[in-house]
Amino acid sequence: MVASFDELKTKFIALGGWQQRYRELMLLGKELPMMANELKVDDAKVAGCESNVWMYIDFTPQEDQLLIIADSDTRIVKGLLAVILLMYRHKTPAQVVAIDAEQEFDELGLLKHLSPSRGNGIRAIVQQINAFAQQHL
């Protein structure tokens, strides 16, 4: 498993076409811990996603970090969630809002091939995280 977002980026950029990237993405998704079924409630669903996405965000003041867990019933979104979680791992709220996720995804070459409505689902997830971070700045 990749240890950091930077490592992930290096790896992805080295990959050839979108097929290879998506294959890798789905492998990443497989490593994402499964969320307990009891947690997969409607209230935890991210609105605006085509597939089911459940997400919980918490803030640990001691470490000034966001804690995010998320899951999806689809492989691709799970993979994208894995990327997002890696991107925001060990980040303070201030660092979170400073990240240009759109740009990062661009560099990974992941959104370009995704149809706009699917891309919007990913944006909805990122926005929810950002909104949470804003409240804890």
Partner: protein, 403 residues
């Protein structure tokens, strides 16, 4: 600058009419369309054509993007939020949607107030609501010129405390611009819901729904440079939320079993079935076109033309004009004593003047005015002085012929 000839050349039908010797003075019935609107419609069918909101593939996703972008444009044009704008097939459907959605909110003793000069679209749905709910339908009277007198209208609102006030911002039959803002304020003081019929005002007055402070506002694209078969309902968000669903089916639901369905929040709650995607895209292009024109110049041109039309028509002493000429979107509605509007309009039509005669879907107004119909000339900003001159010549011929 406002270059009328350049503007006219944007409207292919005007050129075509000219070749046939026809002058179009019936914009209150439907407006002409600039080429960009026609192209937006064709472009969709020729390129992206796909269904919306079905999220399957990029064609569909692109169509959805364009469709929602048009919603945002129209919403901005009337100054509301995109989620306060419901697509309907036109003003008539929008009024029906509200009238059905209020069925459970009204009861015996409640008053729905309209005016005597409303279009049938803003009368009959309220009659039906009154029948369903037990409420009573009343109408603000007009004076013998067909004008609503603000004072007596306010007194009536005061007396009746209507639960619903539904009124047109501009009359289709006479062109009157109405004191809607004042009437809305009075109705709201008593907790009444307010609906503005903007079918005629959208093109001429570019209404701002927040400034009007109405709860609902309805309009049709085809009267505002857009395609046929599309229009909209603005509703303040809580007002939309409080309406019962109207038409039901696909898209507007989240979860369906054989016996139960859960509905989307507005505007989705009211939008079922495959929408008029090409119509929406064309309407978006119409709004782009209007946004590129300076409203003040456009309105000045219209008013100048309207003044010229009035000054010219004044030479015919037998012509009696109805309506409020001081507050008007550019419509002359007239009768000639002893002459049937049908005869006048038939002869004018043979002279190549496209105008309308009859009751203009406003029979109660015709009764109130004691006429069996009028002849109506309705201007839009794409008309020019030559159009008015052609009309005056034709009218002179007609009156001379019929004498």
């Amino acid at each position: 600058m406002f270059d009328i000839e350049a503007i006219r050349s944007d409207f292919p039908a005007l050129t075509h009419h000219q070749q046939q010797g026809i002058v179009y003075l019936d914009s209150a019935a439907t407006s002409q369309k600039p080429q960009c609107v026609i192209d937006a419609v064709s472009h969709f069918y020729e390129n992206g054509n796909a269904n919306v909101h079905r999220g399957a593939h990029r064609l569909s996703s692109d169509a959805t993007k364009g469709y929602e972008l048009a919603r945002a444009k129209v919403a901005e044009f009337i100054n509301c939020h995109a989620n306060e704008l419901v697509w309907t097939k036109g003003a008539t459907e929008a009024i029906n949607l509200v009238a059905y959605g209020l069925t459970h909110r009204l009861g015996k003793g409640d008053v729905i107030l309209i005016s005597e000069l409303e279009h049938h679209a803003n009368i009959v749905p309220w009659q039906q609501l009154a029948k369903r709910s037990g409420a009573t339908l009343r109408a603000i009277p007009v004076n013998d010129q067909g004008i609503i007198e603000t004072k007596s209208a306010l007194a009536l609102i005061e007396a009746l405390k209507p639960k619903v006030l539904a009124i047109s911002q501009a009359s289709n039959a006479l062109g009157n611009i109405q004191p809607v803002h004042t009437l809305i304020k009075a109705a709201k003081a008593h907790g009444g819901l307010t609906l503005v019929d903007g079918a005629q005002s959208l093109l001429h007055l570019r209404p701002d729904v927040k400034a009007l402070d109405c709860d609902f506002f309805v309009f049709s694209a085809h009267k505002c440079l857009g395609p046929t078969g599309i229009g909209g309902l603005y509703g303040r968000y809580p007002c939309l939320e409080a309406l019962e669903v109207f038409q039901t089916g696909g898209e507007m639901v989240t979860k369906v079993t054989i016996n139960e369905a859960q509905f989307n929040p507005p505007p989705g709650k009211f939008e079922t079935g495959t929408p008029n995607i090409a119509g929406v895209l064309g309407f978006g292009a119409a709004i782009d076109y209007l946004n590129a024109l300076e409203l003040a110049q456009l309105r000045a041109h219209e008013l100048q033309l309207f003044a010229y039309l009035q000054s010219q028509i004044a030479q015919f002493s037998q012509v009696r004009i109805l309506g409020d000429l001081n507050n008007n979107i550019g419509t002359i509605s007239f009768v000639v004593s002893g002459e049937h509007p049908y005869d006048l309009a038939t002869l004018m039509d043979m002279e190549g003047i496209a105008l309308r005669h009859g009751h203009h879907c406003a029979q109660p107004l015709m009764s109130a005015l004691g006429v069996n119909g009028t002849v109506r000339v309705s201007l839009a900003f794409y008309n020019n002085k030559a159009d008015v001159d052609a009309f005056i010549t034709a009218l002179a011929n007609t009156l001379e012929m019929i004498a």
